[in-house]
């Protein structure tokens, strides 16, 4: 094992997402589709909506019957019939005629537009006055105007928001091919870590990382699977990692920071079959001691035990790998908010710094206020709305600099 592993930059670590591939796909009900990722292109089998449809309540007309119509000189049209919702009109209209129609109704043959009811006045049962002209295809959606037959409407790798879910449903895909939801195994290590149900004696601390890490995995629409707290014992850690690798798609190990136990994680990972250590230290703060291995096809992470560092590394570094496993572009769905820095922030050259900030809107401008307090305090993560990224070659940022904040 190479103990002199070169510390990697954030970009070098991110580039390693290319070494991992999406999990298998499965057929799911479209009703369960929200937050999933499409594993196959969705191609429309028919035109959508499939017929010429009104988008307003009013009268279906031939647009040229209304040309020149105004308040002072209305067009007078004969009412040829009324269209019931969901029905195919059993009549057609020609110039000089109109048909009563509601939003969503099917236009009769001959009609190319709809006059809004607000611009009409019923004269008697058989005639209506029109006060405003319409253009052809105004207030209608044509048969293939939303999506045409054989069109690729959603591509493989698309995150399914509510609208994509609705579109798939509207096209009749009651089942869709989606990537499985990756399972992420979570292991906490350290002789000082105790289950949260226990009362810590001095020197001991409750297991926070299992809870925060699982939270971020849930937030990113993965499935966290807990493997408990492992004492600083390489054999026990090896058994836990092997079990987690068997049952999940990615494994997170947090901690392992006792004197002389620092390299337990690397040693255990090096001892696994078909495993490469890809990262052993990153020039990222917080998060320097991060380890990434590829065990078979699966990523295994050694995360800092310090709770704030573990959270930042998870959010910034690990989630892009989870995205890759989900079938997404690794950088997809990371939201950054432009904001103005409220004070000078110093930073060390040669590393990427992530500073916790609070966002506040003032006079229409979003302000990013660095959260004060020692970096090891969970309190700072509770008070923070986001993270400010400071580049490797920057000594610091001045007050009033415009920055992009990664939402927490």
């Amino acid at each position: 094992m190479n103990h002199f592993f070169k510390v990697k930059s954030l970009e070098e670590v991110m580039a390693l997402t290319s070494r991992f591939f999406p999990v298998e796909s499965e057929k799911i009900d479209v009703s369960q589709g929200f937050s999933r990722v499409l594993a196959k292109d969705l191609v429309s089998q028919k035109d959508m909506p499939g017929f010429r449809r009104a988008t307003m309540d009013g009268y279906a007309v031939c647009a040229n019957s209304t040309f020149g119509a105004s308040e002072s000189s209305p067009a007078w049209l004969e009412i040829a019939g009324t269209i019931l919702m969901g029905d195919v009109p059993n009549f057609s209209i020609k110039q000089g005629q109109a048909a009563k129609i509601s939003t969503g109704g099917m236009l009769p043959k001959g009609a190319d537009s709809v006059v809004m009811v607000e611009y009409t006045e019923l004269v008697d049962e058989l005639s209506v006055e029109i006060y405003k002209s319409v253009a052809p295809l105004q207030h209608v959606i044509d048969a293939s105007e939303d999506f045409a037959k054989k069109e690729t409407v959603l591509s493989k790798g698309t995150f399914i928001r509510p609208q994509e879910k609705g579109l798939a449903a509207g096209l009749g895909f009651s089942q869709i091919d989606a990537f499985k939801i990756p399972k992420v195994g979570i292991i906490s290590t350290g002789d000082e870590i105790i289950p949260i149900e226990e009362e810590p004696s001095p020197g001991k601390i409750r297991d926070i990382n299992s809870y925060t890490l699982a939270g971020f995995i849930s937030e990113a629409h993965g499935i966290p699977v807990h493997y408990g707290i492992i004492k600083d014992d390489p054999e026990a850690l090896k058994i836990a990692v092997e079990k987690a690798l068997e049952q999940t798609d990615m494994v997170l190990i947090s901690g392992g920071s006792s004197v002389g136990t620092k390299d337990y994680t690397v040693d255990v990972l090096t001892g696994l079959p078909d495993t490469d250590i890809l990262v052993h230290g990153m020039s990222v703060s917080p998060g320097k001691p991060t380890i990434l291995a590829k065990a078979g096809s699966k990523p295994v992470w050694g995360l800092p035990g310090q709770v704030v560092s573990a959270m930042v590394v998870l959010k910034i570094v690990v989630i892009p790998f989870l995205n890759k496993l989900k079938g997404l572009d690794p950088k997809d769905r990371t939201i950054r908010i432009p904001a103005k820095l409220t004070r000078n922030v110093s930073s060390a050259q040669g590393r990427r710094d992530f500073v916790r900030v609070l966002l506040e809107k003032k006079d229409g401008q979003m302000l990013a206020k660095p959260v004060l307090g020692k970096s090891g305090l969970i309190r700072t993560m509770i008070h923070a709305d986001g993270l400010l990224e400071i580049g490797d070659h920057v000594e610091g940022l001045e007050k009033d600099t415009l920055v992009d904040i990664i939402l927490l």
Copy 2:
């Protein structure tokens, strides 16, 4: 029933959130806490971390033993012992002494700071040289520095992110009081609407709204409950609404736009016991025909049948009410991204317009590009990343205006 209900502004509708109250609370495992809302203040029972803890690997010292230490003139300290992780040191140190310690370890009595290992050199088993001075409390977290005993660490109404979940766990709250997850009943109406599994004949359209509305409810961490498609029949709608009101905390009815059936929803709601119609039309586009009733204590919505309008109203208007039911501030967790408009956008005075936009980053500036195409096309929601809000008294916005985009 008052058929001449005054159309309400968006602010007037939003103010009605005050007429509704959070659902009941329940005890849940903190492991299930992500995305829930605290129903009781969380007060720490003990100091956190509870002991003076190292935040770096190195040597625990009395800071004044290191004053003046430098590369050229190191301080020489006697090693009094090594602290094992999770252990209470069985020795104390005094000036001139140091104890080997790892991140997370408990400082021995007498020590007030930690010198990072990088600035030390072991002379022999019993002595170490220190090359850099430290200040008192440097590289340590004091016993009550993160949270003090009896401090309110998280308030009622807090949305539980991964860090709040971890904090609650770290304080030993294996169970927490959280508001129940509101259930939202979803009813689609309209003679033209068919189940998605069926092949639509001309004039018919598949039920898209049930899927999009449920998606937005899931996204906002509510539980959607489906009550199917109801034909334009007031009696059938009444039965469905009564059932949904019995089983859920809020009800959404989309559609009801057939000729002569427009007021079915209002009529049905008016006929329910203990029900007030609060909104019957909003000066919001899309979304004008929106209806809000208070049935007993529960909100019941009549949403437009048009799929894009239904989505926009849900996102902009209904979600704040869901937040209120969840125990959140209604406006909480609405993310807006500042961006520069790429073209002129016109708008009607006297109403709030929501325009779909695509976000694109260019030269470090976020650009908001209005999505072209008729408002009734689902395609426009698929291409959109967000919604641009245009004020009631604005005729339009000019190219290059700085705007805030609500993320979709």
